[in-house]
Each structure stands twice: as C-alpha cells, then as structure tokens.
C-alpha cells in the first residue's frame, strides 16, 4: 500500500490549459504539503494544509489553487499553465505537531508528478 500517492505521474500539456494533480495519503497524518522541484533541483514548499486548513501559502501565483476536501487529500489545480510551470511537483504529509521532537518535519513524500508545459 502506497503511503502517499499522487496522480498522474506524468502530465504533458499545452500552454494556457488548466490541469489538476491529485494527492492522497493513508498514514492518518493531519498535515499535507505541495513542494515544487525546479530545474535547479531545489525543493521549495508551495502550500501546507493542517486538517483542511491552509497554514502555509508561499509566494505562488494565484493560478495555483490547492484544495483539501478532507485531511487525507490535497489536490493542486493550476490554471492557465505557463512554460515556467514545468517542474516536478511533490505531495507530502507529516504527523501533527504533537509529541516528540518536531515530528511534523519528517515528511513522507509521494513519487512526484512530472509536469511538462509545451
């Protein structure tokens, strides 16, 4: 059973299109994230949700809209795709901020979605 699963694995689309990436975790975690790995290979946080509430919203264009229907799911919708959106997008989850030495930083990542905008 995959702990954090995201679909699709590959996404090739034209500029201007709208697309969504779905993420689900079966670990019972309360916090979920979207990270973007750019062409320079840096992983940068985009959003974080805790129990369906947005808690981190980095400087990301408004074209990116996360949606969390429940604490096990965090989807990412992207409007009007641009060439610069091409990257690998990783979903992740972590335990809630209770007990232990910073458990919420031990992230569990999905396998990534390679987005290519042509």
């Amino acid at each position: 059973d995959t702990a954090v699963s995201q679909t699709p694995k590959y996404l090739v689309t034209q500029m201007g299109n709208d697309k969504s990436i779905k993420c689900e975790q079966n670990l019972g975690h309360d916090t979920m994230y979207w990270y973007k790995q750019d062409s320079k290979k840096f992983l940068k946080i985009m959003f974080s949700y805790n129990n369906k509430e947005l808690i981190i919203n980095e400087t990301v264009p408004n074209r990116f809209s996360p949606k969390s229907p429940d604490k096990a799911h965090l989807n990412l919708h992207i409007n009007s795709l641009e060439l610069g959106d091409s990257a690998v997008y990783f979903c992740a989850s972590s335990q809630d901020r209770v007990g232990g030495p910073r458990p919420w930083e031990k992230l569990f990542f999905g396998s990534g979605t390679q987005l290519s905008v042509l």
Partner: protein, 113 residues
C-alpha cells in the same frame, strides 16, 4: 536566496569506503536539520535528523554531525553500499515553521563496486 547549500553536486565513492556529504546554511534561526534520500522516479525519504542542541546523531551506518558555529552539517555513511547510490538532500527548519523545510539542491552519490 538559498539558505541551505550543498556545494558538491556529485560524489563518487568505492563500496566499503566512507561517504561524506556536506551542507551549509545561512539562517541562524534554523534549529533542526534533516537528510533525505531520493532514488530516481521516487519521492525523497527521510534518512536522519539532528536538533541544534546536539552535535552528533547516529543511526546504523549513518551519522550526522552539526557544527553550529560554522553553520555546517555533514552526513557520514560508513561503510558505503551500492544501494546508497541516490541523491541526498539536506534540509533545515526553524521553530514554529510548521514543516516549512528549506532544502539544498542535493548531492548525487554513486557507490562503485
């Protein structure tokens, strides 16, 4: 502005020898550091972490050392095995950052027989 830097993009080491991966950071508010390992076509997986109140943490073949005054940490893998061939990411966070990790660009480790 990259606050976590891994200046060696790649490292080649013979099986059985020690691998040493380095990581530097600039933000003095960082107080928790982690290493993640990533295989191709997979997401990063947690490897080992260290709090700023310690200067060393060991887990089997993996040891992380922290030098706060130099804002430097390193990961030692002893002995290196072929299955250790992967990209290793250094990450750091500050208190109350709600899981907002700052990652380095990664170091590709290749362990040769």
């Amino acid at each position: 502005d990259q606050q976590v830097k891994q200046n060696s993009p790649s490292l080649s080491v013979q099986e059985g020898r020690i691998s040493i991966l380095n990581c530097d950071y600039t933000n003095s508010m960082f107080d928790y550091f982690l290493w993640y390992k990533k295989y191709p076509a997979e997401g990063p997986t947690f490897l080992i972490s260290i709090s700023s109140i310690k200067d060393k943490n060991e887990d089997g073949r993996f040891t992380v050392f922290l030098n706060k005054s130099a804002k430097h940490l390193s990961l030692h893998i002893v002995p290196s095995q072929p299955g250790d061939s992967a990209v290793y990411f250094c990450a750091a966070s500050a208190a109350d950052s709600w899981g907002k990790l700052q990652f380095g660009a990664g170091t590709q480790v290749v362990v040769t027989p």
